[in-house]
């Protein structure tokens, strides 16, 4: 007789806590997508941990019926590293906003990526500080007027994904809050990657930055501004998938082309190779209006040993060298009797 395993549904990953984001916030959609992802993965609720910093995004763990740690601003990657080192069998997700991860938390993100700790790191990028009421963030575009920049911001924004690649990230992906089919797929890929996997999620802050991604997400432009990457598939987009991305191999830059126009054929369109870091760089930096935004798994390097695996192997190795007898160690070396 076969025992039919009890299947958990997305709802089983929701806590009984009232969700406290502003009505209409993009975070609701992300929550839904993550709960769906969990159900798709049939993730163990008690072996999964969500770790976050501070911010609207960082409230996330309270709504996941798993283990959760809402820590302090910017430090989630460091705390998650400690969790993973202490118990590598846990499935650890890190969640934070663009401020949490790229402003105060930039250094920890850098080192978690560089070290290749086996984490799924999600940045909810709304290009604003939501929780503290709307100041501009390191991803805000030049000229952003906010309470702290009444005349508009002057500093150049950082690209979460280009930054990650510069840090040595081996997996980067991107999706959009409301993309309830696409987002879970990207999250599952990230989950499957052994090593640090970073996913940027474009998220609408309805209160302080409403419509900042309208030029990408509004239904009338979406087709022309969203490029869904598939490994091994040509980079086509547009209503009728008539547009494509071509690599200009002379200038080493990307161009938007229309298949069938000016002699462009399907063969001219770049085929997505997740392992090509240089292309990944260019894809990460594509921006409207000139380009569509690249979505999906942009870069996925071959897996190498993750940090905690390497470090804990040293512990195992040390243990293998003989019983750990502290009494004996204390008495080794030069001792004398009185």
């Amino acid at each position: 007789m076969n025992v039919v395993p009890e299947r958990l549904t997305a709802k089983d990953y929701a806590t009984d806590q009232e969700v406290r984001w502003c009505p209409g916030c993009g975070d609701y959609a992300i929550l839904k997508a993550v709960q769906k992802t969990m159900a798709d993965l049939q993730a163990s609720r008690d072996r999964t941990v969500f770790v976050s910093g501070i911010g609207c995004a960082a409230r996330f763990p309270y709504y996941m019926e798993t283990y959760g740690f809402h820590t302090i601003h910017g430090r989630a990657p460091a705390i998650a590293t400690g969790i993973k080192l202490a118990n590598p069998s846990l499935d650890v997700w890190v969640v934070g906003g663009d401020g949490d991860m790229l402003s105060i938390g930039g250094n920890h993100l850098l080192h978690a990526l560089r070290r290749n700790v086996d984490l799924q790191i999600l940045i909810f990028n709304n290009e604003i500080y939501g929780l503290t009421k709307g100041q501009y963030s390191p991803t805000s575009r030049v000229g952003t007027r906010s309470p702290s920049t009444p005349q508009g911001s002057v500093d150049l924004p950082v690209s979460a994904l280009a930054f990650a690649l510069g840090c040595g990230a081996r997996f980067i992906g991107r999706s959009i809050d409301t993309e309830q089919k696409h987002l879970p797929e990207v999250l599952k890929r990230a989950h499957g990657y052994r090593g640090a996997a970073l996913v940027e999620i474009l998220q609408n802050c309805i209160v302080y930055n409403d419509g900042v991604f309208a030029d990408i997400t509004e239904s009338d432009v979406a087709d022309d501004r969203q490029l869904y990457l598939e490994p091994g598939q040509p980079m086509l987009f547009g209503k009728n998938r008539e547009k494509g991305i071509r690599l200009n191999r002379e200038t080493l830059s990307l161009e938007v082309v229309t298949v069938g126009q000016n002699g462009i054929t399907a063969a001219d369109v770049l085929v997505h190779d997740e392992k090509n870091k240089m292309i990944a760089h260019m894809l990460a930096l594509m921006e409207p209006p000139e380009f569509p935004v690249a979505l999906g798994v942009i870069y996925c390097a071959p897996e190498v040993q993750s940090y905690e695996t390497g470090l804990l192997a040293q512990v195992t190795e040390a243990k293998a060298k003989g019983a750990a007898d502290l009494n004996k160690i204390l008495r080794s070396g030069h001792t004398w009797k009185v």
């Binding site: 008690d46 763990p61 202490a86 030069h334 004398w336 009797k337």
Partner: protein, 623 residues
């Protein structure tokens, strides 16, 4: 192997003395620390009690011959109980003029200088800031000066070793060690063994040359030529408790104590740290103890280090982090998180001279304020202080006990002096320590993450991976009855009161404060903490011999304070608090007990001298 020099011992009459303070001083590259620790080892094997004080320059390797590049190692050894590295020197070994320049002020009148005249050339003399060669100009007539061309004699001794001139000359510290071994009738065998072990496999010629140099120095002492100038001494073994001993530095004792504590608690260790002087040794030593289930993580900064430790505790290991003052300051926000989420955490603070970068290689006790008060909001934690290198072991075990039993951060204060110094240690039998195994919560029934033990007020420890106990914690205020986020006014009051009561309650779980030396009442209580133990204890002892009604009280538990301390202090007419800061413990004692405690403060990067404390006691009791 037969000890190469066993025959020579006791061939000439020796003066017997109780204790001696020797300081080896030379250039950073002269190997003074190695010389000192070898001498320490043989003193230990000879049964002496001792205390040491290594004193490094701030620079990694300062230019040769400069005063700021002088590195020295002081040892006080004797047949009586030794409490400090010694107030003033009996013997100063000066490998070059700069060493003499820097250390001369510490030599007692009539003390002995052993100088390598081979290094007292014009250039070096000038570089050290002398106008004329001090060995020649009569300026040292208050001392006994023994001039030896150690450089030349070393070169002679190693000439057949095949070493380059440069490498050969490097053996001069072992030549000098040989001479000093002769002076105090020491056995060279352990050092021979050490040299063979150190260099034997890879560069045996270095072992051979250094042994040759040492033997030559020793023989030099033996030979008649010097007999007029030099005296050989005997320092009898001290009367110390029976048992097996070893030398131990503060760094080692801390590491072993933390590992022992983790074993008693039944936990693995997740150690997160970022290098900083003088805290790094703990990182280095623990990195070599991985077989005990110790994971050492060199983080990108101090914040990440403490955060990783907190993550480790959250996941069910013992989170430990360590740093020195400036790095501890950076950790405070995260320590607040550990206080709020009530996770165990041990924070080791190896204090150094400040403020800011200050003098990283110099000692100070000025982080007590930071430990007790240095966080935003009402955020109490436990503060302990160890008094000596070996005491670090016990203090570390106590830190682990309190952190895990009470689910709280514990700050353990040590200092640069303790971290670097070494002393003999009666090795404890770990099997005899009482375990305090952690019980993780596993029952889902009635569980919420801020359920408390009604007695200790500690919350349950439920780690991710436990079936059915999934829950969320964080730094926002939590409802007393559910652990959920709560902004309710009365609840915050209750939680604040509970956090305070939990820490205050530890006062009932720690030993009553005892007296180190003297009666429970009297004219003057000298209250100390940390590494001032030695000089205070010796000073109080001596003053009691002189009939003064003074007692020594030394605190291990700084916060909460032992429950009987207030009453104890009231039994004394006056209270004196020597500290290597501008008066930090004294502030705490005055505020807690309204006793008119007064400070005795020294903030120059150097430990107290016994005489300074004796003087202070005398002036307090003569008024």
């Amino acid at each position: 192997m037969v000890p190469p020099t066993a025959v020579a011992e006791a061939s000439r009459p020796r003066h017997e003395i109780d204790s001696v303070v020797v300081r080896f001083a030379g250039d950073s590259g002269d190997g003074m620390q190695v010389t000192g620790s070898q001498f320490t080892l043989t003193s230990a094997l000879a049964g002496n009690d001792f205390a040491t004080f290594p004193d490094f320059p701030a620079e990694i390797r300062a230019p040769v011959g400069t005063t700021f590049g002088v590195s020295s190692f002081q040892i006080n050894f004797g047949s009586q109980r030794i409490e400090t590295a010694g107030d003033s020197l009996d013997v100063l070994v000066a490998m070059n003029p700069a060493a003499l320049k820097v250390e001369l002020k510490n030599l007692r009148v009539g003390g002995t200088i052993i100088a390598d005249v081979g290094q007292f050339n014009d250039r070096n003399v000038k570089k050290a800031g002398f106008v004329a060669n001090p060995l020649e100009d009569g300026s040292l007539e208050k001392y006994r000066v023994i001039k030896i061309d150690i450089s030349a004699l070393t070169m002679e001794a190693v000439k057949n070793s095949g070493l380059s001139k440069r490498d050969g000359l490097r053996c001069k510290n072992f030549w000098t060690l040989g001479l000093i071994y002769w002076m105090y009738g020491r056995d060279r065998a352990p050092t021979v063994e050490w040299l063979n072990k150190r260099f034997g496999a890879k560069r045996p010629e270095l072992a051979t040359a250094n042994i040759a140099a040492m033997n030559a120095g020793h023989a030099f002492g033996e030979t008649a030529e010097m007999s007029g100038e030099m005296t050989a001494f005997t320092v009898r073994p001290a009367e110390i408790a029976a048992g097996v001993y070893r030398t131990i530095s503060g760094g080692e004792a801390l590491a072993y104590g933390l590992v022992a504590g983790s074993q008693l608690a039944g936990l693995n260790i997740m150690f997160g740290s970022y290098p900083i002087t003088p805290a790094s040794p703990l990182l280095h030593i623990l990195a070599g103890l991985k077989q005990f289930g110790v994971t050492t993580f060199q983080a990108e900064d101090e914040i990440a280090a403490v955060c990783a430790a907190i993550g480790g505790s959250y996941a069910g290991q013992l989170g430990i982090t360590s740093s020195s003052g400036p790095g501890i300051a950076l950790k405070m926000e995260a320590i607040g998180l550990a206080i709020s989420t009530e996770l165990p955490l041990v924070i080791v603070n190896s204090q150094r001279a400040g403020p800011s970068t200050g003098m990283p290689t110099k000692t100070e006790q000025s982080d007590l304020y930071q430990a007790v008060f240095g966080r935003n909001a009402d955020a109490p934690l436990v503060v302990l202080a160890s008094r000596s290198p070996s005491d670090c072991f016990e203090t570390a075990v106590e830190a682990v006990r309190l952190a895990t039993k009470y689910m709280t951060p514990v700050m353990l204060l040590t200092d640069g002096y303790i971290a670097n110094a070494a002393e003999p240690w009666l090795i404890p039998d770990l099997a005899k320590l009482k375990p305090f195994r952690v019980r993780f919560r596993t029952e889902a029934e009635g569980f919420h993450p801020f359920l408390r033990d009604p007695k200790t007020l500690a919350r349950v420890w439920a780690t991710p991976g436990t079936p059915g106990l999934q829950h969320r914690i964080g730094g926002i205020e939590k409802a007393y009855d559910s652990g959920h986020i709560s902004y309710e006014a009365g609840n915050h009051q209750k939680m604040t009161d509970t956090r305070k009561a939990k820490i205050d309650g530890i006062g009932n779980d720690i030993p009553e404060q005892g007296i180190e030396e003297g009666e429970r009442t009297g004219d003057l209580a000298v209250v100390g903490w940390g590494s001032t133990y030695g000089p205070i204890n010796r000073a109080v002892y001596t003053m009691r011999q002189k009939g003064l009604k003074v007692s020594h009280i030394h605190l291990r538990h700084i916060w909460p304070l032992p429950r009987n301390l207030g009453d104890l202090l009231k039994g004394f007419r006056r209270v004196l608090v020597p500290e290597m800061n501008t008066g930090q413990l004294v502030t705490v004692l005055r505020s807690q007990y309204l006793v008119a405690a007064e400070g005795l403060n020294k903030v120059n990067g150097q430990p107290f001298k016994i005489s300074e404390i004796e003087h202070a006691i005398r002036t307090r009791l003569e008024h």
